[in-house]
Symmetry: C2
Subunit: 450 residues, 2 copies
């Protein structure tokens, strides 16, 4: 199976490769920015990964990065590396429009902490990537600037809500992109677009300057070609030391989660081809039943919906016409969730956290598919899985959202393709074992592509 996706300059080049080339004087930061801008110019028309490209600002920052390097100032592994940032994250002086007509033309006067940390680490922000409106939805096809499209088949969704970030990395327009993940919004588009997407533990990366979707579930995450590159960006975003702590990923206890009902309506609604492809990557894993996934999804939905409506209630009352109709419809439903459902959901979340912690006492890594299905066609609201009609939103979210409830580090790594469309393997670990997870993910990726 060969991929048909466009290959920009950064396809197959890691952050470490680029850093070596810059250290060797083979490439400059200015060259990298030019390559990024050229790749965007030639590849982004059908993909719509970018909503804003800051050519001038990126070129200026690249010249500064190069001048610093000449002067002997080295800011670390992101020095001079072009990065794209999801358009729900504030960038000083650069439009930040939340994928929404409500924020059309909005230019923040300060950087989100995560953006400030990127800049301080020498990264060059080349532009802002398409986000589902207010990050509210896992499809990536509901945005004021139009749907982002999957580089593997532009008739299909990127997934979302960090769809532009995934498409930008998958098409090689940038080596690295920042996203956010409230129920899977980094891991879902990473899986559907065939890149690595990593959501650190809840709270690991500060959320200030990130437009809230559901504050108890929101995470900042990263997308790249490799888990190693995700690790480089993660350490910067989380304010950690740049060198990874050595992690032994050679003989891990891996638990394969057998979920009973990923898509709410049927006990077997992970696409069997997807499940079987991902499972093949874990020949030595033990099977563990994870019952109640449909119930976990209801728990997730009650928390996410109530918190999201608390953010948007005034906007819904005052300017409903500025919302995308699908997003508005979902908000209306979210506003009707009773408070006592929210209270019970918070209790159920606490119980699931204990259950997940107990599993992670027995296993180093939990493995399952990232997404139950292949990328659906842009605009579709329902999908056929194994003979049943299922809402696309539910099919995309059920396997990722439990790990937002749990607040655990989770990652999607490419596990192969079916009919040219990527499939992601999802890995989950205990907080504090991120380096082990990242190392294991790269070992897995190497094994699968080897």
């Amino acid at each position: 199976m060969t991929s048909v996706r466009p290959r920009g300059f950064f396809s197959g080049r890691t952050v470490a490769d680029l850093g070596r080339d810059m250290s060797a004087g083979v490439l400059s930061a200015a060259d990298l920015v030019d390559h990024a801008l050229d790749s965007i110019a030639s590849l982004d028309r059908p993909l719509n990964a970018f909503v804003t490209v800051d050519a001038e600002g990126a070129r200026l920052a690249a010249r500064q990065a190069d001048a610093e390097r000449v002067a002997g100032v080295y800011r670390g592994p992101l020095h001079g590396i072009p990065v794209a940032v999801k358009d729900i994250i504030e960038t000083a002086g650069m439009a930040t429009q939340m994928g929404s007509a409500h924020f059309a033309g909005h230019i923040p006067d300060r950087d989100a902490t995560c953006v400030r940390r990127l800049r301080e680490a020498g990264a060059i922000i080349v532009g802002k990537t398409t986000t589902q409106e207010f990050a509210y939805g896992p499809t990536g096809d509901r945005s004021h600037n139009g749907p982002s499209r999957n580089p593997h088949d532009t008739a299909r969704m990127t997934g979302g809500s960090s769809g532009g970030s995934a498409a930008a990395v998958a098409a090689g327009m940038v080596p690295l992109a920042v996203g956010t993940d409230t129920g899977g919004s980094v891991r879902i588009p990473a899986a559907l677009c065939g890149v690595v997407g990593f959501k650190p533990a809840y709270g690991a990366v500060p959320l200030d300057g990130v437009f809230p979707l559901a504050s108890s579930l929101d995470h900042v995450g990263v997308l790249a070609g490799t888990a190693e590159d995700c690790g480089v960006a993660y350490r910067v975003l989380a304010g950690l030391a740049p060198a990874p702590v050595a992690a032994d990923a050679s003989s891990l206890r891996v638990g394969w989660l057998v979920t009973d009902s990923p898509a709410l309506t049927d006990p077997a609604l992970t696409d069997p081809a997807v499940a079987s492809l991902v499972k093949a990557a874990f020949p030595d894993s033990e099977e563990i039943a994870l019952p109640g996934v449909a119930e976990l999804y209801r728990v997730y939905s009650a928390i996410q919906g109530s918190e999201a409506y608390a953010v948007h209630a005034d906007r819904v009352a005052q300017s409903p016409q500025l919302f995308d109709p699908v997003v508005l419809d979902r908000l209306h439903h979210a506003g009707e969730i009773p408070g006592w459902h929210y209270v019970r959901a918070v209790e159920a979340r606490a119980s699931f956290r204990r259950q997940a912690a107990a599993l992670l006492d027995r296993y180093d890594v939990l493995a399952l598919p990232a997404v139950a299905v292949l990328a659906p066609p842009v605009g579709d609201l329902d999908i056929d899985i194994d003979g049943s009609r299922v809402p696309v939103r539910d099919a995309l979210l059920t396997l990722t959202s439990p790990w937002n409830l749990a607040g655990l580090p989770a990652l999607s790594v490419p596990a192969g393709t079916i009919g040219g469309l990527p499939v992601g393997a999802q890995l989950v670990c205990a907080a504090g074992r991120e380096e082990m997870l990242l190392a294991y993910a790269d070992r897995l990726r190497a094994a699968m592509s080897g």
Copy 2:
């Protein structure tokens, strides 16, 4: 103004007095239990403070306490002291009916932790006190075993929900009683019945075995004739060392809170006579505006209602006829609170906590009336304050419930009477300064009665 209330054996006798008499051999624990049972037999008919009296169990426990004392075993200041426990708190082998037909005849097989701690400290549980059904309401007149009645005027409410505990102490039937306080359920009946009621900081006393009303607001508290006695019981319930840490309460900075809207509908709806009587106890206080009390009450109601309905939803669906109609009506309204209101209320609570913490950086003690009105007639749903009709529930709760939101130690101490009906001064402090608060409250009580 003289009180007309009945005076049982324990009227005017403190726990320390009783302990001295037992040490001197003047009284035994068995004598105290007999006095308690006699006082209950002669005084409780109109008051309905007790729903269950365990004469046999109390006599047995008293004989054991006396035998221990003879054998040189001394369990501390509660050794041999009769105590009453609100009927929402589980007592092994003793009926615990939650004031509700749903739990008629219910006998738990284990003690709540707070009850176990009382027993381990040598206290004698003489019986269970009348609670508002499921502690859901501040009036004390909605219980499956009938309303508790105010010892100062049996046509009037005790307040609630720990109404029986307040009446039992106020009438001298026991020296000490345990209650619970979710929005004022210890302090309100303490104020209306003329005793001291103390709610420690949130989490200070374990809640296991206490039937939940609203889990993020529930507190176990104590009622007694003096703050010193509340302190003795508090230290036992909280698992602290029995001897109080010495606290200097001689030159404190006291802030008098001027609330704008205690009863939701009008900026001036604390009964002016109540406000002026309580204020007179704090001649050296500085006035501090506390705006937004009406909004705080809405915040409280959204949290309390959502959490309460989460507890009772299945019971409402399956056996609505077993609820008191007023309680059921309130539950129906609670079930309709939207989740996003709850989310916003939790955010507002966090903001109020910061505001209260800032005040308690500037003042050692915050003072205000405990309750905005005098005890209303049993059964009334509305009350006239200064020319306006106000729901009784709101009038009773508005000044106490903010301190459940804040989770701060708070206490009501008698501040005098108006027309023979008691008025309570409420004192609030930072967590960790409970001993200072209790010492100050007794200094105040002595000054007011002297």
